[in-house]
């Protein structure tokens, strides 16, 4: 198990390096100019010096290695200093955004809480809806509940989140006026009133994402329960006189959760990507919105760093899913 984990971790390094190179070259090949918004009255030699100042003058491989150094060496040192009060990163250049001229990681750190509260909450809610639905529809296979559950989850992952979001806004934000349609990120939770306002503005984005996630996870849960329900150990458990409740909720559920948990782990990074759209619909200024504005502004360091962070999330969660599978199911051997 340990050797497997170590081997996978070692394999992840070239994968991530390659992905970063692909993203970098893609940005490099683009015809967009980060100085495109500079007025035409600025003389060309000044423009040239502005390019130099942005670090665009050098060859691409030098800039790529420089970015790697900043990402993997300077930034960890900076955060180490930040927490322990040392000064290792003194005088080192951090990754700087072209748009705001502030360190990319500071901007990301400002945006992460918004994304995490909305996306994280929706994933938790989605899982909590999906698992009971999966259990019931597998236990009562082909009942009206199962048929309805299948239909609703089919609709759930056929309706794109930008459509469900807009429909919810029209119904609950405009017609009924129950919830605000725009997410106010400046809101600070201080007392019950502001807490209530925060809950109200989170209801719609969380519902949209939770429905989408629940639709997929409940299908997996159902399939996994079904394949376990007619196993021999279930018959044994019933034969020795355990109550139906114990059989289903202790024996079957625990075994069925093994593949579902890995699916949940695998889906987590995809949720960050999918949240880009939901954030756009509800005007949440989280990571997705940051990425879109950065793409429009040709802010190369920001786009590169953000996309790379998404890639790291995917690689890490795939690894976690594989390891979890081995830990939870002792029958699986990796060597």
């Amino acid at each position: 198990m340990l050797t497997f984990t170590l081997r996978r971790l070692l394999l992840a390094i070239p994968t991530l390096l390659f992905i970063s190179l692909v993203i970098f070259l893609l940005l490099e090949a683009s015809p967009g100019d980060p100085l495109g918004d500079v007025p035409l009255t600025v003389p060309p030699e000044v423009k040239e010096r502005m390019r130099e100042a942005l670090g665009l003058g050098q060859a691409w491989y030098i800039r790529y290695v420089l970015w790697l150094k900043q990402f993997f060496w300077v930034e960890p040192l900076y955060w180490f200093d930040h927490f322990f009060g040392t000064s290792f990163s003194q005088g080192m250049q951090r990754v700087i955004s072209f748009q705001s001229r502030s360190p990319v990681f500071d901007v990301i750190a400002q945006r992460v809480p918004q994304t995490l509260t909305v996306v994280g909450m929706s994933y938790v809610v989605g899982v909590m809806i999906a698992i009971p639905i999966g259990i019931i529809s597998a236990y009562k296979q082909y009942s009206w509940f199962d048929q309805l559950g299948t239909f609703v989850s089919m609709i759930g992952f056929s309706m794109p989140t930008f459509f469900t979001g807009v429909v919810l806004i029209i119904i609950f934000g405009v017609k009924l006026q129950w919830f605000p349609s725009v997410y106010d990120t400046t809101l600070v939770v201080r007392d019950w009133d502001s807490f209530w306002a925060q809950v109200r503005q989170m209801v719609m984005p969380v519902t949209v994402l939770a429905l989408y996630n629940a639709a997929q996870i409940s299908r997996f849960m159902r399939a996994s329960m079904l394949s376990n329900l007619n196993q021999d150990y279930v018959r044994t458990a019933r034969a020795k006189g355990l109550s139906e409740r114990t059989v289903v909720l202790k024996h079957v559920l625990r075994n069925s959760l093994i593949p579902v948990i890995t699916v949940i782990a695998l889906g987590l990074p995809a949720v960050f990507g999918g949240a880009i759209i939901t954030e756009q619909v509800f005007k949440v200024n989280g990571l997705g919105q940051l990425l879109i504005t950065a793409i429009h502004a040709n802010d190369i360091p920001m786009v590169l760093t953000l996309t790379f962070i998404f890639a790291i999330l995917i690689v890490v969660f795939t690894l976690i899913a594989d390891i979890l599978y081995g830990v939870l199911d002792p029958r699986i051997r990796y060597d």
Binding site: L27, P31, G32, S158, M159, F162, V166, T318
Partner: protein
């Protein structure tokens, strides 16, 4: 070993068990000349169709999907208003005889725009699916059949699976839209760009499924028999391997259409899809969002079309999977 591979090896074992059990019961084999035995000839595809018809949801979905395709293909010949014709005096009109689904903020007919938009959306879905399936089956068959290619090709597939797809798609579309529009004209250029971008980033699942199936097939006797009479690899793949992995490919293809349509409309919704005067369902939705308080129907109609089409395609894929799974067939 990943989950799908594991599931697959289980399936293969079951298949082998079934085959072995059937081989044991020689007495139950059909007579040498089956033409005499049965009245109606039975082919694999007829069986699949019979099984498919018993899936009620899939049949309804097939009917609705066919209706949608007819609507966008034949519709413009019956409803001859130009979708880009601006009638500023009739702008923002509601449902009426002249404009059954109303008009938009420039007075363009919504019914005509929905038809035109559907054409593009479905065309994008189909083309992107064909690209993804071609790449996917090619890589799947190559890495399943040739042991030497397996490791590098699968590493590459894993690499692609680790890419953050939506951010990359956004990036590709934003960065390359201008050069391509210049070379191929705005509409065709964006079409090529979107279709290749979606196709190039969604072949991985198909490749893994096909590879798993090919690996299972290679252990079967008929492949051994074909090898023993000296069939060259090229003929082996086209004659013996491909026809036998056609059913998972078809299921993956159906589901691929759904993802491609959703991805295209998501790109359009983020304002990075087709140009404004070139309607697609996603673009229509995006354009209407600004005025959704006043004219909610303009948002809901294209959204309904997207959802309905994707729902139908998903149901058809579900029905196909059930119909093609020999373990469920004939239940």
């Amino acid at each position: 070993m990943t989950e799908s591979d594991r599931q697959h090896s289980l399936n293969t074992n079951e298949l082998i068990d079934e085959t072995a059990a059937a081989a044991g019961a020689v007495a139950a084999l059909p007579p040498d000349n089956p033409q005499i035995a049965g009245g109606e000839t039975r082919s694999q595809w007829r069986d699949i169709w019979r099984q498919f018809r018993s899936h009620r949801g899939a049949m309804v979905a097939l009917f609705l999907f066919a209706a949608t395709i007819l609507f966008v293909l034949i519709g413009p010949y019956l409803w001859t208003i130009d979708p880009t014709y601006v009638d500023i005096r009739a702008r923002n009109s509601g449902f009426s005889a002249a404009h059954p689904l109303g008009t938009d903020q420039l007075g363009r007919d919504m019914l005509a725009r929905l038809m035109a938009g559907g054409r593009v959306s479905i065309a994008v879905g189909l083309t992107a699916m064909i690209i993804a399936i071609t790449i996917g089956s090619l890589i799947g068959v190559l890495s399943g059949y040739f042991r030497r290619l397996d490791a590098p090709l699968m590493r590459m597939t894993e690499l692609f699976l680790a890419l953050p797809l939506l951010p990359l798609l956004l990036l590709m579309v934003t960065l390359f839209r201008e050069p391509l529009s210049k070379n191929f004209g705005p509409a065709l250029g964006i079409f090529i760009l979107i279709v290749t971008a979606i196709g190039a980033t969604s072949w991985m699942q198909a490749a893994r499924i096909v590879r798993g199936d090919v690996l299972g097939l290679k252990e079967r006797e008929f492949i051994l028999a074909a090898t023993s009479i000296g069939t060259p690899p090229r003929r082996m793949i086209t004659r013996h391997i491909l026809p036998n992995v056609l059913s998972p490919i078809m299921v993956a293809a159906t589901l691929g259409i759904a993802t491609a349509i959703i991805t295209e409309s998501a790109l359009s919704f983020l304002g990075l899809g087709f140009p404004p005067d070139f309607p697609t369902w996603g673009r229509l939705l995006y354009d209407a969002v600004d005025q959704m308080v006043m004219y909610p129907s303009r948002v809901i109609l294209p959204g309904l079309f997207i959802s309905l089409t994707v729902l139908c395609v998903n149901y058809i894929g579900d029905g196909l999977r059930d119909a093609m799974d020999p373990r469920i067939r004939g239940r």
